[in-house]
Symmetry: C2
Subunit: 312 residues, 2 copies
């Protein structure tokens, strides 16, 4: 049996996972990210953690297929880090540097793409030839996987699904500077904003807006029959359905997987998205299926492992 390490670099913590080559997750743990964030100490820390783990488990280098790393930034098709803003990394050859330290092959991909690949190979998208992951959290991210391979796109910019323009009448700018991005309606923040907009328009709502509310509050209010929540989630479904119809015109995925924190309310949200998708989709694309992600926060780890194993 051979093994794979997956490493997910965040600004605060680095998450590690240890997989069997059949994709079984054996172990996971995390360590604080070196607070300096500089490339050398961060990579030295990772090398130490992995070499220590191999020692403890009595593993030789030959038994490790590779290390898959998820990077919170832009990774190009040759697996170079172009930029990772939270770490202040620019044009870093992480592959060569880390593999030089551990003498094990290193493979890189963007963290959102890693999550997409993980859900495609081991999660909600398993068994489908083509899939799109929409990650609905504070923002909206995503990834496109065709025949088991992540589409990175020119400049590593494929899968920026949160910035599909779905509402050209929007007058409030998105964080990206554009107007009417999907993220403005389908993220957790977007759902709360839609709720506020609805009550401002005079639609009755039961949530007190004097204190901060969350997307979860809106979902619970919806279930209790709140009119403004109904409006906000209908708006969510409308723009999600519309965005998925746009995606379908380009690549016609066999399945769309909804992940991220917002998808915790997935059983409720999925029918809303599907209903509007059927309304907006081009006829030949209407067979696309919609399912929920199943790997939660481990999706990226599974994707890193799948990425390594894809090189076998």
């Amino acid at each position: 049996m051979r093994y794979v390490y997956a490493v997910d670099i965040g600004g605060t913590f680095i998450k590690y996972s240890f997989f069997q080559e059949d994709g079984t997750l054996l172990e996971k743990w995390q360590r604080p990210t070196n607070p300096k964030h500089a490339v050398s100490p961060v990579l030295a820390d990772i090398a130490l953690v992995i070499l220590d783990h191999m020692d403890a488990a009595n593993l030789s280098k030959e038994q490790i297929v590779g290390i898959g790393m998820g990077i919170p930034g832009v990774v190009d098709a040759s697996e170079q880090v172009l930029v990772a803003p939270n770490l202040d990394w620019h044009n870093v050859d992480v592959r060569t540097r880390l593999s030089g330290l551990v003498q094990i092959p290193v493979y890189l991909l963007n963290d959102a793409n890693a999550a997409a690949l993980g859900e495609s190979v081991y999660g909600g998208g398993k068994g489908y030839a083509s899939m799109v992951l929409m990650t609905l959290g504070t923002g909206v991210g995503g990834g496109v996987v065709l025949n088991g391979r992540v589409i990175t796109g020119f400049g590593g910019a494929a899968g920026e699904l949160g910035h599909l323009c779905v509402n050209e009448q929007e007058t409030i700018p998105c964080n990206c500077g554009l107007y009417g991005c999907l993220e403005q309606y389908a993220s957790a923040t977007g759902i709360v904003n839609s709720y506020r907009t609805a009550t401002n328009q005079g639609i009755s709502g039961t949530l007190s807006l004097d204190q901060p509310i969350t997307a979860k509050d809106v979902v619970e209010a919806y279930q209790a029959g709140d009119e403004a929540a109904k409006h906000a989630l209908d708006r969510f479904g409308y723009y999600m359905g519309k965005a998925c119809a746009m995606i379908a015109c380009v690549i016609s995925p066999e399945v769309v997987v909804l992940g991220g924190g917002v998808s915790a309310a997935g059983e409720l949200l999925l029918p809303l998205v599907e209903q509007y998708y059927q309304q907006f989709a081009f006829s030949a694309c209407r067979g696309t299926k919609f399912v929920l992600a199943t790997l939660g926060n481990d999706a990226g780890m599974y994707g890193c492992a799948a990425h390594v194993l894809g090189h076998l």
Copy 2:
């Protein structure tokens, strides 16, 4: 030297091309399509034409890499014809049937995808890792090529770029039944319609609308300073730029190639599309290049040849 045949099936004519395996087009000709359109006589005709040509050129079966066929309909990932409306073909295994007749491997793809692959390998998209062809004619079609492979999508429905919704305020339906499709503004018909709309809105135009006008007339009027034509082509650029920004969020192509009849005015249209693309594109995608198709009506033939040679 080995050779490839490309066969492009239309409702009225079948076009044949004969390529060297290095992609050089040696010969092309056409024959009327069997008026019955039924599968058996059409395939028997094609087999005869190819076997006759091989005889005349004194070629053995071993010298032919394969026959690439462009189908005006839906071809799935396993290269089966799901439906070809103009020929009234449904669920036909053209590959097995034609290769049975000629004892040469047969490869199939949709005709729009064939044109995209042709432009990608031999035309305007040559040298780019990822490209999108937008074919601007009576309608708007397209194709997506990533790393030399056409993306067919679920149900063969990828690359339906003419049906991206770019204007949710549209009240006139597209031929497909949806509203605000790119095709409604960027096809030849769409440009003429925009011209009519502009004059109806009181924008001055020099073209007489008592008789039929063409997109070419609108382009010529634009060059002569016609205000309504300026409006129509600005609208073309606006919606094309917007659609390309949507496509970029999904796959971030390195290059967008404009083809089809409308692109004859490409030198004039390209800057309009690029200007609006820069306005609408997500920041990471703004490096996408825009170029014109170079293979004209032969793009599909080149794509069929490339598809065969991709199996070498």
